[in-house]
Symmetry: C2
Subunit: 206 residues, 2 copies
């Protein structure tokens, strides 16, 4: 956006000319917009270039193909689901986690691109790496919630963490992304309540 830094492309010899950061970012934005409109499998780099006001060469000069382009694009937005502080109880932490999730799932591009990533992974496995990276930050944050509750004594150390991590986001994902219904503040408590009970129930009587 600001000053153009010397890029990695400029190296030994002498001459100049640097890949424009503005153009690269415009290409990323155009990619996401087209991705949201048409889905990855029907994504046309020709349209992406046109939308960014560039030629196709600008794309092929930077990335070898659609997948690597998408991969780096996802990387740049960094997916920071910033950590939140300890809320004092499992249920309060769950509610905070759900609120974070909701703010992510409300983003219009996320609403279209995220389901498309999952659909694409199901049929091609080439998107696996991207999907994995997207899941990672969320999973890390979720794990913290569980570990804090164990440290607090709210959950036993013998808890099946794998399944607990499934219960943490699933209800919000289902409601907002699969059934596509909005999630008003008034109902956040109920989801946190149910989710907390589910996780606690995993620990009791096998």
């Amino acid at each position: 956006m600001e000053r153009k830094r010397s890029d990695q492309k400029t190296r030994a010899p002498s001459g100049a000319a640097v890949q424009s950061v503005e153009l690269t970012e415009a290409l990323y934005r155009a990619l996401f917009a087209e991705w949201a409109e048409h889905g990855f499998s029907a994504l046309s780099l020709e349209r992406v270039a046109a939308r960014a006001g560039a030629g196709k060469a600008a794309i092929y000069r930077r990335w070898p193909g659609k997948l690597q382009f998408a991969d780096e694009a996802i990387n740049t937005i960094a997916l920071r689901m910033a950590a939140f502080e300890d809320k004092g109880s499992l249920e309060a932490d769950v509610r905070a986690f759900h609120r974070r999730l909701r703010s992510v799932f409300r983003h219009p591009l996320v609403r279209r691109i995220l389901p498309d990533i999952y659909a694409e992974v199901a049929r091609s496995e080439a998107m696996e790496a991207i999907s994995e990276r997207v899941a990672q930050t969320r999973r890390d944050e979720a794990a913290k919630v569980i570990e804090r509750a164990i440290a607090r004594g709210e959950l036993p150390g013998a808890l099946d963490r794998e399944i607990a991590l499934d219960f943490l986001p699933c209800s919000i994902y289902w409601r907002m992304m699969v059934t596509r219904r909005s999630l008003p503040d008034a109902q956040l408590d109920l989801y946190a309540q149910g989710t907390t009970a589910a996780i606690k129930a995993l620990a009791s009587a096998p």
Copy 2:
């Protein structure tokens, strides 16, 4: 498959010629196979016809376009998630429901096509009707589970049914379809346990 019945297309005048039921079914099968491979948005009717060993005219004579074709195709497979009998308790019913869900989510075509439907709905709304019909049978069956529990006295009549219906399938969908992990028998109990606790918790102290 068997004898060819006089079709609805043969009517008043005199002449004959009937649409072949075999070909129609072959077209459906080819559609699903291509859908699973490429996704709906990148679906080519040309490939579908070729895969069915037919010409494109065979498709365009039957359906006006891709969407209506897909719509009737989904209709024919009927989506019967046959009702199961009362298992005696909410948790047992939940487990039975999860088992049914698992058998559906294990089908290789379902694993690829269902996420694609959700991705498509997110960006075009034209698939809404199809998605809605797919959801309907599952929702009906889930509602029965909840109502039976209320009749049994396990859940209060004042329960928030909307959210209870979210909790019923969400953990299984998340595990099998989003994170794409298998679900062995040994873990079915834990999911049923957690899900049941979540639903019961919706009723208590607001």
